[in-house]
């Protein structure tokens, strides 16, 4: 029955098809119009995800300030008063570390879950999944910027004058964003196939918290520990924030450039890992 010849359409078309400027679907380079479309999609997704995050709460975005303020009060009382840590302007010192750490860990946690939690966009034809980690890192950095108002209040309270080095702040934010995004790409891709990723990440972040000089300065630590702390890119970022806000000096450029270069390398590798797995997302997600 099926042997009866059907009209095979591939024979009906002329063979000069290759001269007709075919667009190889889904792999062709983007036109300017498509880039602009991607930009529109990106801004819309940031707005939508921000709204989803805050829509049900009465004070909305203000919650991003409550958490660091509570942490700040607890640690200042416990470490600053009870254990009497001997650091100049301890609340400000603590604030620089805490805000940077919170922004990093929250951005990374959100961005790692970005593919798992936003499956509605996965089913849109032509969607670029790589956009999602970027959306959440940008959201995290926006929250960070907002939370810096706490630091500003402390600087006013302790009457610490700001100098020119504060101009390095956008650069520090950029390097921190780069670092977060670099780690977010592979984690977001792994989270789709391995549910355990988010638990492993939360354990890893708990360890990292104590391998980052957030609560104390490491100047008097033994040499072995010093090396361990120096290997943590967040150490250099936090020292950078403290340098520009408290000491009024420029950050340690070689260290910062090192962090930026390392992040860039990890970003390229992580992005390629993400892209290699992106077509498995729909197969694996359920």
């Amino acid at each position: 029955m099926a042997d009866r010849p059907m009209i095979a359409s591939s024979q009906a078309s002329p063979d000069k098809a290759d001269t007709l400027r075919w667009r190889q679907a889904h792999e062709s380079p983007l036109s300017w119009k498509q880039w602009r479309n991607l930009g529109d999609q990106f801004l819309h997704l940031v707005a939508v995800e921000l709204r989803l995050l805050h829509k049900r709460s009465m004070i909305g975005m203000a919650w991003t300030l409550v958490n660091p303020i509570v942490q700040l009060v607890i640690f200042t009382v416990v470490l600053g008063r009870v254990l009497a840590v001997d650091t100049l302007y301890y609340p400000v010192f603590l604030c620089c570390g805490l805000l940077c750490w919170n922004a990093f860990s929250e951005s990374l946690t959100m961005a790692s879950a970005s593919i798992v939690n936003t499956r509605y966009v996965l089913y849109q034809p032509g969607f670029r999944p790589a956009m999602m980690p970027l959306v959440f890192v940008v959201m995290g950095q926006a929250h960070f910027l907002l939370s810096l108002s706490i630091l500003a209040a402390l600087l006013v309270y302790f009457q610490i004058p700001l100098g020119w080095p504060v101009l390095a702040l956008p650069l520090l934010l950029l390097v921190q964003g780069l670092l977060t995004l670099a780690l977010a790409f592979p984690l977001a891709a792994l989270s789709v196939s391995f549910y355990d990723t988010k638990h492993l990440l939360s354990v890893a972040l708990r360890f990292l918290f104590f391998l980052t000089p957030i609560l104390y300065a490491t100047d008097n630590f033994p040499r072995v520990l010093q090396i361990l702390y120096a290997a943590n890119p967040l150490t250099h970022l936090i020292r950078g924030y403290r340098a520009i806000f408290i000491d009024g000096v420029w950050p340690d450029w070689p260290a910062l450039i090192g962090v930026a270069a390392g992040s860039a390398i990890v970003l390229v590798v992580g992005y390629r890992f993400f892209e290699a797995r992106r077509f498995r997302f729909i197969e694996d997600i359920e």
Binding site: M6, I7, R23, Q24, D40, Q124, F127, S193, L200, I282
Partner: protein, 255 residues
């Protein structure tokens, strides 16, 4: 005639899962990071070749698991083929997984913008067309309510309306038309025919074969991961139905 869609030697392989889609990490570590072993994989589609002309509607029939949805997902760029190529001219619109592309917590209006932007519209075009999109759906005052409060029919109408108002050059529809009532189906078919007159190529997959023979120019029959037949809709469907009669189905069914 320049085809809107040209599919050549298309092949797609899936990995077979052992227990659950969430393969626990430990299992992978203990098993070693071996790449998908050949024994672990099977072909859902192989050696598929066809073309669709602008303004043509082609129906895809086949039993469950024959690869209909996979074929449309490949064309929408959601999956990547292991073999062969797909060439598409212009913007692709897709109605693949009903409701999956709408976010339940976002309002109808926000979902219109999301899907509109992803269909290649600019923000201004979305603004201009929101009224038309809403008029077709008849969701009216529900526009600013979260989509989770919509009925299944309303969600289907909304998804359909967005996809067909975004000027797709190629429209992919998976089992979609057959969720609504007859009024909705008729309205959808009318809308699709208007798009086809403007040169949109439509690919429609379905079990409901009478809909395909009524509306499609040609039909494509997928069977056991391969292209069994392609040709005038009536001819293909007659053979498909003859083959999937209960007796024949019992004889060859694997799942």
């Amino acid at each position: 005639m320049i085809p809107a869609v040209k599919v050549e030697k298309l092949g797609k392989r899936f990995r077979r899962y052992r227990s659950s889609p969430y393969q626990p990490l430990m299992e992978t570590i203990t098993a070693g990071w071996r790449r998908s072993a050949p024994a672990d994989a099977f072909w859902v589609l192989r050696d598929i070749c066809f073309e669709v002309a602008p303004g043509e509607m082609i129906g895809i029939v086949g039993r469950n698991g024959a690869g209909k949805s996979t074929l449309l997902s490949l064309m929408a760029g959601l999956l990547k083929p292991e073999e062969g190529s797909i060439q598409l001219r212009g913007q692709v619109g897709a109605l693949l997984d009903l409701g999956m592309s709408l976010h339940p917590l976002l309002t109808g209006r926000e979902n219109i913008r999301t899907a509109g932007l992803f269909s290649g519209l600019t923000n201004m075009q979305v603004d201009d067309r929101t009224d038309q999109i809403v008029a077709f759906t008849g969701i009216g005052e529900f526009l600013d309510a979260p989509v989770r409060t919509y009925s299944t029919g309303m969600k289907a109408r909304l998804a359909f309306s967005i996809a067909t108002h975004a000027d797709p050059d190629i429209l992919l529809i998976d089992e979609f038309l057959f969720v609504g009532d007859h009024l909705f189906q008729d309205a959808c078919l009318e809308r699709i025919q208007a798009l086809m007159r403007n040169g949109t190529a439509v690919l429609l997959s379905s079990h409901a074969s009478e809909k395909i023979s009524e509306n499609c120019d040609r039909a494509l029959w997928l069977d056991k991961a391969g292209l069994r037949a392609i040709g005038p809709a009536d001819d293909v469907l007659r053979e498909y139905l003859a083959n999937s009669a209960p007796a024949a189905a019992l004889g060859s069914d694997q799942s």
